[in-house]
Symmetry: C2
Subunit: 451 residues, 2 copies
Amino acid sequence: MQFELSLEYINHLKNAIAERNDAYLKEQLQELYAVDIALILNRLDLDESIYLYDQIEEGLTADVLLEMEEEKREALLATFSTKEIAEQLDNMESDDAADVINELPEEIQEEVLSQIEDIEQASDIANLMSFEEGTAGSLMAKELVSVYAHETVSACIDEIRRQTDNVDVMYAIYVVDDHDKLIGMLSLKKLIISHPLALVEEIYDADVISVKTSASSEEVAELIQKYDLVVLPVIDQLGRLVGRITIDDVVDVMREEAEKDIQLMSGITDDVDSNDGLWRLSRARIPWLLIGMGGGIIGSRIIGSYEGQIQIHPEMAFFIPLIGATGGNVGVQSSSIIVQGLANNTLITDRIAPKLFKELGVGLINGIICSSLILGYNLLISETWTLAATVSIALFTVVICASFLGTFVPLTMNRFNVNPALATGPFVTTLNDIIGISIYFLVGHLLYSVF
Amino acid sequence: MQFELSLEYINHLKNAIAERNDAYLKEQLQELYAVDIALILNRLDLDESIYLYDQIEEGLTADVLLEMEEEKREALLATFSTKEIAEQLDNMESDDAADVINELPEEIQEEVLSQIEDIEQASDIANLMSFEEGTAGSLMAKELVSVYAHETVSACIDEIRRQTDNVDVMYAIYVVDDHDKLIGMLSLKKLIISHPLALVEEIYDADVISVKTSASSEEVAELIQKYDLVVLPVIDQLGRLVGRITIDDVVDVMREEAEKDIQLMSGITDDVDSNDGLWRLSRARIPWLLIGMGGGIIGSRIIGSYEGQIQIHPEMAFFIPLIGATGGNVGVQSSSIIVQGLANNTLITDRIAPKLFKELGVGLINGIICSSLILGYNLLISETWTLAATVSIALFTVVICASFLGTFVPLTMNRFNVNPALATGPFVTTLNDIIGISIYFLVGHLLYSVF
């Protein structure tokens, strides 16, 4: 039942396409779900995917399109007439159709919309296209089942029969008043087990969580997770029910957020994946490399100002990497815990000070452990007391500073609405590198000039 | 409707508890959802939370317990009698009850189980406790609605009335044959709009995706995401329907996986968050700090072997941080893209070689850019040609090496079933630091001895 996409299988299909072996292709396609067919199309050349797409049974084509990678889908749709695109959009849920039409070149969007046969679907799509990306309005779908509070259960079931034509999976039945304002929910279970002549207003649940169309997608994800919802109704400024967001759409948002955070943490600027082209991958990485190099150059100037000292005590240079690496590691550890606490809302941000004190406590403990160990090591390999003391004092100070910065920087970024994940990456590391070197040579300079 | 937990509000509640102001507390609690009450309990002292818990209306107590932090819940439950715990478990879904009972001290688990009044619930819990953690069996709940294929729609609705006593939200109706084998699904929509005398076998959908109890939670999460499912039926080795997993449980698994990955990337070993104690936070971080220091010590030995050269050319030391930082950044960038591709299955792992070549291509481009810029800088500030050449050649080589390692290490870890996120953290950074320094001094040694 589960499907593994192997290189071998792809090659079989490529051969079958080259030989125009329609019987084999149709047989294969019948076994597969839309998402699996989409994975195959993602791996084919455009000519091949046009050919294979034509072999897909009609009921699946819209779903296959939706599951394809954006770039591949755009390329495939570019070979369609506006009429053909409109036909596919007619078979999608309104939110998916709006996403697809938004990807099309602007000059054909209107033409495609006007060619959609189902007038209601066309107006739903046009409505959804008007919401700003990243808002609840842009995430929602218009397909839902709603009933009036004054109806009976049996009238309700008739109504549901009419409405469910457009609805694939029915998650919930929404209850609205005479002004279409959302006032509650009716569970299917309640509906099925209630007397046919009971009134909706007697059996519905007035306790319903909803969002406004203007809410951000992060708020939507937070609500759905916090209250373990499967579907969340969306209301307009007047409280009227206008759509619903399902958890699977939110899972995609969550995954994208998490990936964006990891990319920021790793110093990658654009939304790239390993299948992107060489130039795109290079371009996404060079900015942070250059910032890191800028930090390295500043470091070289600092060390350069101690040139004379290095000439007399070249052993000072030995521990530059150790100081830099430990400072960097501590900084990343500290900020990662803060970023994670901010992301999953376990962190109480009322006051920054207690967090800083706690983090300094952790820094104190780990700083003492690390600097004692390196002191033992240096005395063991019979380095001079001066060098041993310099390394340990500097290491201890660097650990404390890095703990402080690793906590302070992401909390401050968060307060100014900058994504704090940025702080866990090259930024804090570079800063810690520079501060670490400054401290190390300053301590060394002082100790060597005294002893 | 949405609830913000402020320090001020918590203090109001603490005062009301101190004053035994039950009227105020009950009024407050009535406004809140279970998860919000749990957030409050997480912030109170044990005495206070025992008092507040007693004020919660009975229908909510089990849900509140479930939403609390594990440690806080354990502390609260430790003040309960086994009889009281059993009463709470009786009001939970079987999967949640099994999770809670697994957290109890082993010596009282059996006693608690034996005190659960509903025999079926007790046996469901005992059954769920037998599955290994991290498997589909341990994630599933036993509450579900199933009907036989030979029944009529109206018999089915009667059956559903009986079965839904235990089921909070009904996601789907499963269809089984006479041997309880899962053969398909019946949508509620279909059930509601079908004729009462129609047979289930005439209207059900035989196309159903399921997992075995032994499947891993990662497999479950993958299936649910890939096929956009809300609920996934679980079958035993004989194909009999034994439970179901809902998407909200999987969302929790996904979030935990993502957090674990980020912690590994940041060099934190245990599952900690920013509210944990000082010692626990310190202990979770020290291992990677020590490994990083080990790398730093190796680096110091390598530099130490060039002591004479540094004495003559102290300017060699200036660029140690730049070489180390750039190598580290490139390595993290490369492995992060690979780890992400592995995590979301967009990466085709048939063959490693093409990935390596591509990454080397990116390294080549970025290596040329970085080393040209630093060459320009060094000539501009009139460093010697020898040093300028050393830095640029070493930097270029380091970028290429780091690209290679950043790709090779996580792919290899993945092949040997080690979590590749480990590779994005201090491990690759430390390795790149050591390699970078070796290359830098080797190149420097060669160039200075020639020119």
